[in-house]
């Protein structure tokens, strides 16, 4: 049974990485095969926390997708982005820095793909006004979204998976991930003038054009904005006050989404428009396939091998997880990688005794998977979406053009992460 589970998993992984067949179809077929062969049974797939579909992840994503779907209708993001561009007084470098900041902050609160979908059109508009090439701006923003998304539990899907499997709270991410994300963001912003050298020349006459943009016109429904803002604040307050209210993030997101639907009175097609059913089904298939590896003992064996390889050394295991996660996440989607790694990291966390902090391996996985998404143009869904937007706007970004910048940022962010993990959890821990 273990051999079949591994075979199904490897074939599915190769097909997902090759991007030739729809990845949701591959994940669902893989899940269907292990179910049909009885490797995983209904109880394992639907009710087991160890081997089954992680409903916390599915419903947290679902709830947040609906909240974001309503938030998008308000135009608030466009308002903030244009306001920021105008505050930069038309200086392309300052505009890039401010848009990168807006993207990173939005990515911490929303998922990265949504953030990219929101920031890209505004960026194209501003660059069109300035008559400058938007490609450096789009690349900088997608890199920032992958960095910013790492800071919170809801910022990036790998974090949602890790939080659910490791029992980590929203505040755990704020305390352990946000500091390193801030450090990486500062380094990233400082590097912008050098990475995109020569991209900031602008005709002074065009600068005045940016100042004529009227950001107030972006707010289409002020009452909806107030309602949406109130619900969003309540949702994040409930995330932060988890230790007081004891409501799981998935339930908070669903309650927030339900409340927003009730008070916004939007049509069904409007609030469901942002629900990515394919992504949710992809997660379902993935969880069933990984569940088969857990049930057949493959994950246990992998964890034992990893422990033997590192000789139970906590620091070495931490750096190994970080060092493997980044390149692998950069080459294949970081979501299936994280789903596969969580049971292995769970076993390692339990078996390695000299860990100075019980969750350090989880932070290594989260940092590697999140920052690794910047490595190549296909490392994260947000990258692929941004490339598509750029192509449709007649400003195509080539794979290597993206990867040259992404590789540099990934190396810097992973090096800073390694230093952070070592200092915080092993030197001063």
């Amino acid at each position: 049974m273990a051999v079949i589970a591994i075979s199904v998993f490897v074939v599915a992984y190769v097909l997902i990485a090759s991007d030739r067949i729809n990845k949701t179809l591959v994940a669902l077929c893989g899940g269907a095969i292990v179910l049909a062969l009885g490797i995983v049974e209904a109880d394992d797939a639907f009710y087991s926390h160890e081997t089954g579909i992680d409903w916390n992840v599915i419903f947290l994503l679902f709830g947040m997708m609906i909240i974001v779907g309503v938030l998008r209708q308000t135009g608030v993001f466009e308002y903030v982005a244009i306001w920021a561009a105008k505050r930069a007084n038309g200086s392309p470098l300052r505009i890039m820095m401010l848009l990168v900041l807006v993207t990173a902050i939005a990515s911490a609160l929303l998922d990265n793909v949504t953030t990219v979908l929101l920031i890209a059109p505004v960026t194209l508009l501003v660059c069109d006004r300035l008559a400058i090439n938007p490609v450096p701006f789009l690349i900088a923003e997608v890199l920032a979204s992958n960095i910013g998304g790492a800071s919170t539990l809801v910022g990036d899907p790998p974090n949602i998976i890790i939080a659910s499997r490791a029992g980590l709270t929203f505040n755990d991410f704020l305390v352990h991930m946000t500091p390193i994300v801030l450090i990486v963001m500062v380094a990233f912003i400082a590097m912008l003038p050098f990475i995109f050298r020569g991209s900031f020349d602008v005709d002074p006459e065009r600068v005045a054009d940016v100042m004529t943009l009227n950001e107030r016109e972006a707010i289409r429904d002020p009452r909806l904005l107030i309602k949406c803002g109130a619900v969003l604040i309540a949702v994040f307050a409930a995330f932060i006050l988890h230790s007081v209210v004891h409501i799981e993030p998935s339930i908070v997101a669903l309650l927030g989404a339900g409340l927003l639907i009730l008070i916004s009175r939007l049509e069904q097609r409007d609030y469901l428009a942002s629900v990515e059913w394919e992504t949710l089904l992809f997660f379902v298939g993935l969880f069933v396939m990984v569940g088969a590896l857990v049930k057949t003992g493959v994950v246990d064996q992998l964890a034992r091998s990893a422990t033997e390889f590192t000789n139970g050394n906590g620091l070495l295991t931490t750096m190994l997880i970080l060092g493997i996660s980044a390149p692998v996440s950069g080459v294949i989607d970081n979501i299936p990688f994280t789903a596969t790694m969580t049971p292995i990291v769970s076993e390692l966390s339990a078996s390695i005794s000299d860990l100075s902090h019980p969750h350090v391996l989880w932070w290594a996985l989260a940092l590697g998977a999140d920052f690794g998404g910047n490595l190549t143009a296909v490392g994260a869904s947000a990258n692929v979406v941004m490339l598509g937007i750029a192509r449709r706007a007649d400003n195509p970004i080539s794979f290597w053009e993206f990867t040259r910048k992404g590789l540099l940022i990934t190396v810097v962010s992973i090096a800073l992460s390694a230093l952070y993990l070592w200092l915080r959890y092993f030197v001063f821990g």
């Binding site: 135009g75 466009e78 059109p121 508009l125 009227n214 950001e215 972006a218 449709r392 706007a393």
Partner: protein, 147 residues
């Protein structure tokens, strides 16, 4: 009545026609839409007038309609200039390329059903593998109500 009896001559453009020229043909003749053929003269797409309007809307505004109000009047008035040297093929929405033609011997109901299902203002008519003409929605209704 068959499709060939309803078909009429109609302005046709190719995928290589200048997009600005295509928009101008529609505007000047106040057409409900226009048939786009490939370089071999075979029907390729049907462009309703409402979709030709998209030609002058920047892609970033199509992606995020809330940006439409952000742009000031003088800039908005120059939107058509952006079309420049673009060809119809460059600005053709993909979903419009899936409008099959009808055969010359198809009945009025077959033509109406296809037009309604695809929400297309006109349909190309093929005879002997060649473009025979075009049926517009108003021409079809005229034929149907005359009986």
């Amino acid at each position: 009545m068959h499709a060939e009896d309803m078909a009429e001559d109609f302005p046709v453009i190719t995928v290589d026609t200048n997009a600005l020229e295509a928009a101008r043909i529609l505007a000047e003749h106040r057409l409900p839409g226009i048939l786009v053929t490939d370089t071999d003269g075979r029907p390729y797409a049907v462009l309703p007038a409402s979709q030709v309007v998209r030609f002058i809307v920047p892609t970033y505004v199509q992606d995020d309609p809330s940006l439409a109000g952000v742009i000031n009047e003088s800039w908005a008035d120059k939107a058509a200039e952006k079309l420049g040297d673009k060809k119809v093929h460059d600005v053709l929405p993909e979903h419009l390329t899936d409008v099959p033609p009808v055969n010359a011997d198809d009945t009025i109901i077959e033509v109406a059903a296809l037009m309604a299902r695809l929400r297309s203002p006109l349909i190309a008519v093929m005879k002997d593998h060649k473009l025979h003409g075009v049926i517009t929605a108003s021409r079809l209704l005229d034929a149907a109500l005359r009986r």
